[in-house]
Symmetry: C2
Subunit: 341 residues, 2 copies
């Protein structure tokens, strides 16, 4: 029910995802008067879905606490998350209110053992393919142990999605020298180096321009700077697209050139398409919850559906829990030592 | 002497700046054996300069404390800043070690009355022209009062450079709703709203994608997220330029299209040229110090020279000091009140 378009986005998006992943089954939660007419228009989605009417929809401007108070147990958002908890769904996906979704997901699914705070991970297109960037806005600030946990979870996600055995992981900082940056980032670097984890290759500090280069497979940062980085990159991409459009329309020669090179421009547009990276993954919970951009279109929403599909197929949660338990069971003394140093 | 190329960057850059601003006089500080042969190659720079030999050059990998210990009073970096203090130069410009330059500038020039910590301001090309973004890396973290001071100083810089009477100012945050974000950013917003300053128009919170849009003339943030934003935008611009080049080379039709539209691409390249925004301005000191990118070319260095030239001509320091004293002399009680609320 959430996002700019609500079910008008979700049902067509589900239809598009079904064309590529016909084995998906949906559980749809929402208001009958809105969803039923859409299912009439998309009979294939109706055939692949169970629909459950919910009287309450979380509003985009609800505070997380309000959403929990009014929407717990009864709202479409809550019930989609609860379906994951009950094992009736493999993951939950919403285009709605991010803060409310995170609050409900934490309340309903609880964090994985050992994880203090969940993170939101984004897929970031890079010159080398894609990278996982986290946290992009679940919480503001993070201590060394939380950054360490983000690295482990992001590494597991990269393994699940990119078919890598040992993804490279970098800590986002404002200088590559060991001396620079926040104390907690330095400490997280020491923890990662000393833990010497079997499933991730810690590569040290990276800077903002390393994200787009694809210097590492996983970029770890706290949620404030991660969100600023994500939105700044989106803004820069839009800005350059605007420059490009205006340059190509400005003279007759440019227009002619544009016609010749149209396929090349189409390719470029595909590369820069923000819908390709749609889907913020909540990591650190006992279940997979994905936040779609509220302003995306059905194609973008289908991307988020397929992201969840891939992560379930590639057993993301199992990988995360395995990596965390390997660390927390065997390296506990080293953490204490590093903390005391 | 600093940067990737040292005097090989500075002297040709000075020559280029002179072609557009023939009334500039330079004071050059550096090692005689390196600078003298370059001045032979650039006689117009020699004619417009006084050169002073300095035995010590701050190295790019010196820590700020090392640089201060070894280079105080004797290094070319220190002596260029000292020339500003003595009134022998209107501003100091270096392509060297940023941390050392800031440490020396603080030590030699001292912060302006009322300012606790200086900031580095960058000019950011936007869809609407240019904006001032600060802090982009002088210090990590900032409290509400420091963010407030950044807003005042950034506003003065925008007035000096953009010919605006009352620039708009936004606080960088991860949501536009008043409830979101860090406590100190919310407090800075309250301070700015209540101060109701005559020379800046406070516009509330902005997000990462607002920077490139040019939503406000001045974007205020603490140095960690500001530096991440700046470098992430640089990385994204390079990434898209790489995509574009590769798309235009891929097919014969694209190559033909490129030839027709070449002037349009040249225009685009100019728009995206990182050299156009070169020059980080240290604000909050009793003198103007500018940091050029160490990896720029003579054109980029000349941009930084002309940036300093414009700020001196437009009496930046006077504007900053005036705006700060207007606030600190007359609105002091309001600050106390806001702090107690």
């Amino acid at each position: 029910m959430g996002g700019d378009e609500g079910a008008e986005l979700v049902i067509p998006g589900a239809a598009e995802a079904l064309t590529r992943r016909p084995d998906i089954r949906f559980k749809l939660f929402g208001e009958r008067e809105i969803v039923e007419p859409l299912l009439d228009r998309y009979p294939k989605v109706r055939d692949a879905s169970d629909f459950e009417h919910c009287e309450i929809s979380v509003r985009m401007d609800d505070k997380p606490s309000q959403a929990l108070r009014h929407g717990r147990r009864r709202s479409s958002m809550w019930r989609s998350i609860e379906a994951v908890k009950r094992g009736e769904a493999d993951f939950a996906l919403s285009a709605g209110n991010t803060g409310a979704l995170m609050a409900m997901a934490k309340f309903c699914l609880r964090t994985t053992a050992d994880i203090e705070r969940p993170a939101i991970a984004a897929l970031w297109p890079t010159l080398r393919g894609e990278s996982v960037v986290l946290d992009v806005g679940a919480t503001i600030g993070a201590d060394a142990q939380q950054l360490f946990d983000f690295a482990v979870m992001g590494g597991a996600m990269a393994r699940a999605l990119f078919d890598l055995e040992k993804p490279t992981v970098g800590l986002l900082n404002i200088g590559v020298e060991e001396v620079k940056g926040l104390e907690q980032i330095r400490e997280a670097g020491i923890l990662l180096r000393e833990a010497n984890l079997p499933n991730i290759a810690y590569s040290g500090f990276v800077e903002g321009d390393d994200i787009g280069k694809g210097t590492v497979d996983v970029v770890v940062t706290e949620g404030f700077s991660g969100n600023i980085a994500l939105k700044t990159a989106e803004g820069t991409a839009k800005q350059i697209a605007t420059y490009l459009r205006s340059a190509m329309r400005r003279t007759l020669l440019a227009r002619i050139g544009y016609i010749f090179a149209r396929h090349a421009f189409d390719r470029l547009r595909d590369k820069m398409d923000p819908r390709r990276g749609n889907g913020g993954v909540f990591l650190g919970l006992n279940g997979i919850v994905i936040k779609s951009h509220g302003g995306t279109d059905p194609t973008g929403f289908a991307t988020a559906v397929e992201l969840g599909y891939s992560m379930v197929r590639n057993r993301l949660l199992e990988k995360i829990n395995n990596d965390l338990s390997v660390y927390y069971q065997s390296v506990e003394p080293a953490v204490v030592e590093a903390g005391a140093a």
